[in-house]
């Protein structure tokens, strides 16, 4: 039988905490860039101009149908040679996950925008608003409220996906876990603690999402994805 010993993990709790902060940093940065970019992609894809719709559709499909780890490798190892820039693991991670989550957010935005009844458009247009004004004043405010649960769920997915950055040596929670495991020769305990940390953070976030979902459903604004 294995004698469990968590003392070496507690001794290195600082490293794990630092890793968790870095995980949240990448997640936050990818969300901050990914959501606006997702909105832009969605509006482009819905545009009547093929010059806008087609490239947006291509970006969305490519980033949704290739594995995030392949994307990360491409941005970290290939892109710096191609455009001759220095690439840090952090920049590569934020770049990859921003575009990747933007592709998913774009589909959430598109679903939300399309779900707003056609009559709303026609009414706003009849009142003399330009298409841009209709989108900003009438459609988006209603659509965004319906999209909130799908957004939050996507954000949770994103946080789980950020563990991939450990593979390119960015010091996130998983990377620090590996470091501590090798330093203390206690991989079982360290990985178990890390799994629990992820579980509690993500489970807490999921619980909040379900609460929001229920409240929106109660106010008649819930929407299936």
């Amino acid at each position: 039988m294995h004698a469990w010993d968590f003392a070496p993990v507690w001794a290195n709790a600082g490293l794990l905490a630092l890793g968790l902060v870095n995980t949240l940093k990448v997640t936050g940065a990818a969300l901050a860039f990914g959501i606006p970019l997702g909105l832009v992609l969605a509006l482009m894809r819905l545009s009547p101009s093929r010059w806008l719709a087609w490239p947006a559709g291509a970006v969305i499909e490519v980033f949704r149908t290739t594995p995030p780890l392949v994307q990360l490798f491409w941005f970290f190892f290939a892109l710096p040679i191609l455009i001759r820039v220095e690439m840090t693991p952090y920049v590569a991670a934020v770049l990859t996950f921003s575009i990747q989550s933007a592709a998913f957010f774009a589909e959430v935005f598109r679903g939300g925008i399309v779900s707003v009844e056609r009559g709303q458009w026609e009414a706003a247009r009849a009142l003399g608003m330009s298409p841009r004004q209709v989108m900003r004043r009438v459609v988006l405010p209603q659509a965004v409220k319906r999209m909130v649960p799908a957004f939050l769920e996507r954000a949770i997915e994103l946080m789980k996906t950020t563990t991939l950055v450990a593979v390119i040596s960015y010091a996130d929670l998983l990377f620090e876990t590996n470091e501590v495991a090798q330093k203390t020769f206690r991989p079982l305990e360290v990985f178990t603690v890390t799994a629990l940390i992820y579980f509690f953070v993500i489970f807490a976030a999921s619980t909040v999402v379900h609460g929001v979902e229920r409240r929106l459903a109660a106010s008649g604004e819930g929407m299936a994805r």
């Binding site: 499909e61 490798f73 998983l174 495991a181």
Partner: protein
């Protein structure tokens, strides 16, 4: 200007197609194992989530919540490090990756199965019972066949996710496409071409599947209308 452009050269990648082919076989093997085990166990857990007895319902729920709320990569690494310590045998990268991805997919597909089963009108189960079927017979002969049809798009989507997840096995050096790509890129110093080819291969494999999902969704939307 022209001289500063990168000169793409795919010849070294094409000369090593056998290396990539070995990786593709590894990817397909892992994918097939995870689909069968993930969906099979997912159905069992989904039925458990649907059960009324608490000693079945509670463990099934705990399993689903734990595996849905932790990152797959952490699960794979946990099995890779934990099994040899806890059990008296070594574990290959294939088994560790298959365990992590299958259990994760079981948790996600369990929710699909449960949702599908619960979407079938209660009257169907009651009618089947009234005809003298046992609950197990009613589930197998009446409810599941109808539910499966509705779950098909969601299950196809899960299958696509599993295919993408197989790349994570490269983190523990399992021989799959991305792992072979890493090998080629470091041997030939051509990460750009290699990772581009890997990305294209995944896209070509998965894009048709994505189209199938869309078509299934449209058909179901029409049939249920």
């Amino acid at each position: 200007m022209g001289s500063s452009l990168y000169h793409w050269n795919f010849a070294p990648v094409l000369e090593n197609l056998d290396v990539l082919w070995a990786g593709a076989l590894g990817t397909l093997r892992l994918f097939a194992i995870c689909v069968v085990l993930g969906f099979g166990f997912g159905l069992v857990v989904g039925l458990g989530r649907h059960a009324k007895r608490r000693w079945i319902y509670l463990p099934a729920t705990a399993f689903v919540e734990f595996f849905r709320n932790t990152p797959v990569l952490v699960q794979i690494l946990w099995f890779y490090y934990a099994v040899p310590i806890l059990l008296p045998f070594q574990i290959s990268p294939l088994v560790a990756a298959a365990l992590g991805i299958s259990l994760n997919s079981a948790a996600f597909s369990a929710e699909i199965f449960r949702g599908g089963i619960e979407s079938i009108d209660r009257g169907q189960a009651e009618a089947a019972r009234a005809l003298g079927m046992t609950p197990a017979q009613a589930m197998r002969r009446v409810i599941l066949p109808q539910a499966l049809r509705r779950m098909l798009p969601a299950l196809t989507n899960r299958g696509i996710e599993i295919f993408k997840m197989t790349t994570l096995a490269s983190a523990i050096a399992y021989v799959e496409l991305l792992q072979q790509g890493k090998l080629l890129a470091s041997l030939n110093f051509n990460p750009i071409e290699t990772y581009t080819v890997i990305g294209v291969v995944f896209f070509l494999c998965l894009f048709p599947l994505v189209q199938v999902t869309y078509a299934l969704e449209r058909r179901l939307g029409r049939a249920d209308a």
